[in-house]
């Protein structure tokens, strides 16, 4: 086994284990903390795939912003500190079936892919992945339109948030 394989197996085990804990732990804050472990594991996977930029962005956005937001939301939810009550509701068999179907479909889809047995090709020397990504994001031949559409969407969300939170004059 190569070092990369050992790292992958350890990371995958951590991701699966912590993801299992996310859905089974009864304490909501613990679930959010386990989710951080899962997201961090995904960042490690990106890093081992030579996608350093995506890995760091994963940490900045998912752990630095979204997970913190989750924890805040959990703490502002009423009765979140009580970890009693059943962890499952009546629809559990449905979600389990959908999850199994999705997993089976993914396995079926990628089982025909030949990339598993090949080693990832190394970057040519002097190749800057971040610069290549930046060019792709702003070049008209590549992804400039989706990039701009996403920014407009975020701007709309920002304006909406300000509109909801805005206190008009004379209104208490």
């Amino acid at each position: 086994m190569t070092a990369a394989q050992i790292i992958f197996l350890i990371t995958a085990a951590v991701i699966l284990g912590s993801a299992f804990m996310v859905v089974t732990t009864k304490n909501l804050v613990h679930a959010a903390l386990w989710l951080i472990v899962t997201l961090f594991g995904a960042a490690v996977l990106f890093a081992t795939l030579n996608a350093g930029f995506i890995a760091v962005v994963q940490v900045v956005i998912y752990i630095g912003a979204i997970a913190i937001l989750f924890i805040f939301a959990v703490m502002l939810t009423r009765r979140s500190m009580t970890d009693t009550g059943p962890g499952l509701n009546r629809g559990w068999w449905l979600s389990a079936a959908i999850a199994l179907l999705t997993f089976g479909g993914l396995v079926w889809l990628v089982s025909g892919w030949g990339g598993f047995t090949k080693a990832a090709p190394a970057y040519p020397s002097g190749f800057d992945a971040v610069a290549a990504l930046a060019h792709a994001l702003v070049s008209p031949e590549a992804f400039v339109l989706p990039f701009e559409v996403a920014s407009v969407l975020l701007l709309a969300a920002l304006v909406g948030a300000v509109y909801i939170a805005f206190q008009r004059k004379g209104e208490e």
Partner: protein, 390 residues
């Protein structure tokens, strides 16, 4: 290979050779050498941290016209060791209702979020990883510190700790925005996110090219570090000390040590981004000299944080968030395109450094003028209202 041109590489190769000589596989020997390197770096950083306690106490005493620790050892240098022994032999207290695993993990994570920063800190031209996403990495590691604070505040089962950590996290999340914007400016100037490349690109120190970005980074970094005047969690009468109220002994010590080390690390980043990092005379001939320059510059920046901390009074939280959202963020959003444009226009000319400096002065003056006009307008409004009612 000559030892002094790159001692780290030399020692690295030597150690890998030794491990291979013991019959280890080449891969394993390299991994083991890397681990030894990490261990040595962390140990040195932690020893530095011990002396930071002494330095901090000396700095504060000078600002407050006192002598500071002077009993144990020469100049009180052994004082931090006495402090550490005291912290270690203290009783380890778990308050009622503490979430033990999270409670114990929080100080470790806090320390980790600071130590991870040293991976990309460019101590010399050959030490410090030149990650091509270095600047983003600094921000991402900061996110781990935020998680640690929330964990500490929540697991303590104490309302004051929880409120303190909420405040601290609110501040850290908000001040991240101007900090990222301030870091964009060295990135644009150098054309790289690698911190060592940014240092290598500083033929003129960026504090000359972008003094406003330096000020912006200094203010937002002070807030990120949670140091005075932004140390809201230490509102003694209301919140006691924020997220680490319930911690005793060495666990509190870890929070304290990580705070000091965080400040020094950010001093190092100020040195790297704005003071030219390891650059200085004769560094081309003797690269190891860069370490000395870097430590000197980082210490000056650290002293700057101390100067701010012991000079300004604490700011109220609403004023502090106002300062961020109503002034620093809009200012940062004007500053980044403005400096990028000036950089693009002036880059090829012979008066690049002077032009950039003057452009900064002009923008700073315009900002102060706008603020002054607004303040006058507000005051006129208030005085008018007073006259009407009076």
């Amino acid at each position: 290979m000559d030892f002094w041109s790159n001692p780290v590489k030399f020692l690295d190769d030597w150690l890998t050779g030794v491990f291979s000589g013991w019959g280890m596989a080449a891969d394993a020997a390299r991994v083991l050498t890397a681990f030894v390197g990490i261990l040595v770096l962390i140990t040195l950083v932690m020893v530095l941290d011990i002396f930071l306690v002494w330095l901090e106490r000396k700095i504060v005493s000078r600002f407050q016209d006192r002598i500071g620790p002077n009993r144990v050892g020469p100049f009180g240098l052994i004082q931090p060791f006495a402090d550490i022994i005291k912290l270690i032999i203290k009783e380890n207290i778990y308050p009622v209702g503490v979430d033990k695993a999270v409670f114990n993990l929080a100080p470790v994570l806090m320390m980790m979020s600071v130590l991870l920063l040293w991976a990309v800190l460019p101590l010399t031209s050959f030490l410090g990883l030149d990650l091509n996403v270095g600047v983003l990495y600094v921000i991402g590691v900061g996110a781990l510190g935020t998680v640690a604070i929330i964990m500490a505040g929540w697991s303590s089962n104490n309302k004051y700790a929880l409120l303190g950590s909420f405040r601290q996290v609110a501040v850290m999340i908000s001040y991240e925005i101007p900090m990222v914007a301030a870091l964009l400016i060295p990135t644009i100037f150098a054309g790289s996110m690698g911190i060592n490349s940014i240092v290598a690109a500083q033929d003129t120190w960026y504090i000359v090219l972008a003094p406003l970005a330096f000020l912006l980074f200094l203010v937002s970094a002070t807030a990120e570090l949670g140091r005075a005047p932004f140390d809201l969690t230490e509102a003694e009468s209301e919140l006691i000390a924020g997220h680490h109220i319930e911690y005793s002994g060495m666990k509190f010590g870890l929070f304290y040590a990580s705070e000091l080390l965080h400040a020094f690390t950010f001093g190092g980043f100020i040195a790297a981004f704005f003071f030219g990092g390891w650059r200085g005379p004769w560094v081309e001939a003797y690269p190891a000299l860069g370490l000395f320059y870097f430590i000197v510059k980082a210490t000056i920046a650290y002293w700057l944080f101390g100067w701010i901390k012991y000079t300004f009074p604490r700011i109220r939280i609403d004023k502090m968030l106002d300062l961020n959202w109503k002034f620093l963020v809009p200012f940062a959003f004007v500053l980044v395109p403005f400096l990028a444009l000036m950089h693009a226009l002036l880059r090829e000319t012979s008066f690049y450094a002077l032009g950039m400096f003057l452009a900064n002065i002009a923008l700073g003056w315009a900002t102060i003028e706008i603020l002054r006009r607004r303040a006058h307008g507000e005051r006129a409004k208030v005085e008018g209202a007073v006259e009407m009612h009076g």
